[in-house]
């Protein structure tokens, strides 16, 4: 396909979506606020929005085993890109969606991408959503990513979301909102690594409104150097539901981590649990890996990688 992707573009695409060249199946690649290439499939239609910048992705009922790639890359400094991507997923689907944003900024001017993703998940559908955020470049310009994720789940639907931001993002404000109807199940995993003077704030609000609905929020983060992280997940239960929020953070250097997991019940059959832990890497873990021949630094790196794996 005659599409001009530079080595920087290709590196970013590999880092955020593990794709090399053009992917197979349905995809939409956006670079510096503009469409690079798009491909719809028989069951998955990708169309430009008429009201806002962005795309509508419509997945026909019963679509199974297909992937959708919608990566975004920003290589132009001074750009503030806002995009709305809305997924309309029919009933009885089983698909994987791979999104993500990579910023390469060698300039002193900032680059920003705000992706607003909304999912309407039909009855009995199963969705896996993988989103990676990544920043690189030698410039002092800020790399800012402020994603918004809205998930509306119909009866008996299942959704696994893996939201990852590893390195390079100066500032992020993440807002995640979900509403689950009868027997819907959401597993939301968020992994964050901040370093230098980076700031990351993650707000979540998950409403369990249907009987039998359940959510599991797993937050794993590593805060290094002078970075700052704030977690604010809130699960509300207004039906016979299950909710579990787990925040686990490794703190290093002079970093600062705040975890405020919240649960709110408005039904006597709602079962909600939250737990949060912040601590440094255990000394016995480092020592064990050193006895296997790793240096202190290698051991520390290995432990962090696995923790965020």
């Amino acid at each position: 396909m005659a599409v001009d992707l530079s080595p920087i573009d290709e590196n970013l695409l590999a880092a955020i979506a593990n794709i090399h060249g053009m992917p197979n199946g349905a995809f939409n690649i956006r670079r510096n606020g503009e469409l690079v290439e798009r491909h719809s499939s028989a069951n998955i239609e990708i169309a430009t929005k008429t009201d806002n910048p962005g795309i509508d992705i419509t997945i026909a009922p019963g679509t199974k085993g297909e992937n959708v790639f919608i990566p975004v890359i920003v290589t132009q400094s001074g750009l503030k890109d806002v995009v709305y991507n809305t997924f309309y997923i029919g009933d009885n689907c089983d698909i994987t969606i791979i999104a993500g944003c990579g910023i390469h900024n060698d300039s002193h001017k900032g680059s920003q991408h705000d992706g607003i993703h909304t999912f309407y998940i039909g009855k009995n559908s199963r969705i896996k959503y993988i989103e990676k955020h990544y920043g690189e470049g030698t410039g002092t310009g800020e790399r800012v990513l402020n994603p918004v994720t809205n998930v509306y789940m119909e009866e008996n639907s299942y959704c696994e979301m893996e939201l990852t931001q590893l390195r390079g993002v100066t500032s992020t404000l993440r807002d995640t909102v979900a509403e689950l109807k009868e027997n819907a199940k959401l597993i939301l995993t968020e992994k964050l690594l901040t370093h230098d003077d980076q700031i990351a704030t993650s707000n979540m609000k998950i409403d369990l409104v249907g009987d039998g609905s359940s959510v599991q929020v797993i937050s794993r983060s590593v805060a290094q150097d002078n970075s700052k992280q704030i977690f604010n997940p809130l699960v509300t239960g207004s039906a016979a539901c299950h909710g579990h929020v787990q925040c686990d953070a490794i703190i290093m250097g002079k970093a600062n981590v705040t975890a405020i997991p919240g649960i709110e019940a408005a039904c006597e059959d709602a079962m909600l649990i939250h737990e949060a832990a912040i601590g440094k890497i255990a000394g016995d873990e480092i020592t064990k890996l050193m006895t296997l021949g790793l240096t202190y630094e290698e051991a520390e790196q290995e432990i962090i990688e696995d923790f965020l794996n």
Partner: protein
């Protein structure tokens, strides 16, 4: 060959105190290649400390540690590991997110085929099909994590392997398998030495040499045949400590009519 020369290890009596307590007291010991040595003795005698001094987890107050002719007293844990010393912890660390297979690969220093992983785990009595993809975290029981710990030492295949109470927390069936594994390594006689800290008769019986450590000093050394009778005696009680009479039981009548 490992040589410990006049090893002393002291710790402050209390945190910040000047007064010290001697945990290892002028200890000298030589462990030859191909040797299977069991260090035994009462709790608090300095066994684990001695093992940690050899691995470099603790630094001696004075004395020297020589490994294959090289003075390793001031070397780090990493440097000692790279020279071929391995250490199986009594209470192994747990790692959130790390898979058993990954830990074995770190230990081996290379990617491992499934078959090799299976073999290491089988040697410690674990069925690898169910364990390789599990995380080495709190979801594993104490006995499981202990056996994985031992498997990491088998995977790293050090010239000198030190196991600190490998039997602790392990069930009888797995213990049988473990004893066989130690016997097999020893019988291979390929220049590797094993040092095991243990109180288990069956492990002691495997030894070429038994070292009895008491109050930071070697109180006796010898073959299992020489030392076993004495160990049996010491196991029966602490000399000088009189057992008190058990208090009388107050049994109530158990009703049989209901």
């Amino acid at each position: 060959m490992l040589e410990l020369k006049n090893l002393v290890f002291e710790v402050p009596v209390n945190e910040g105190a000047v007064e010290t307590k001697r945990i290892i007291d002028d200890l000298s010991l030589t462990i030859g290649d191909d040797r299977f040595t069991v260090i035994t003795g009462p709790n608090g005698g300095g066994k684990s400390t001695l093992a940690k001094l050899i691995m470099g987890i603790e630094k001696p107050t004075s004395g020297q540690i020589i490994f294959n002719g090289e003075d390793i007293t001031d070397l780090s844990i990493t440097e000692r590991a790279r020279l071929g010393i391995g250490y199986g912890f009594q209470q192994p660390a747990r790692f959130k997110g790390m898979k058993v297979k990954k830990l074995l690969e770190i230990a081996a220093g290379r990617k491992l085929p499934m078959l090799a992983c299976n073999e290491y785990l089988a040697k410690v009595g674990l069925c690898s099909a169910t364990y390789l993809t599990r995380e080495v975290d709190k979801s594993l029981s104490g006995g499981e994590v202990k056996r994985i710990e031992i498997a990491t030492i088998l995977a790293s295949d050090p010239k000198l392997a030190i196991y600190d109470e490998p039997e602790a927390g392990i069930d009888l069936w797995s213990f049988d398998r473990l004893t066989e594994t130690f016997r097999d390594i020893h019988e291979a006689r390929d220049g590797r030495s094993i040092v095991i800290i243990s109180h288990q008769e069956r492990i002691i019986q495997l030894a070429d040499e038994v070292v009895l450590l008491r109050e930071g000093r070697i109180s006796e050394t010898g073959t299992p045949e020489q030392l076993m009778p004495k160990l049996g005696f010491t196991a029966k009680g602490v000399p000088g400590c009189q057992l008190t009479e058990p208090t009388a039981l107050h049994l109530t009548t158990i009703p049989t009519t209901c």
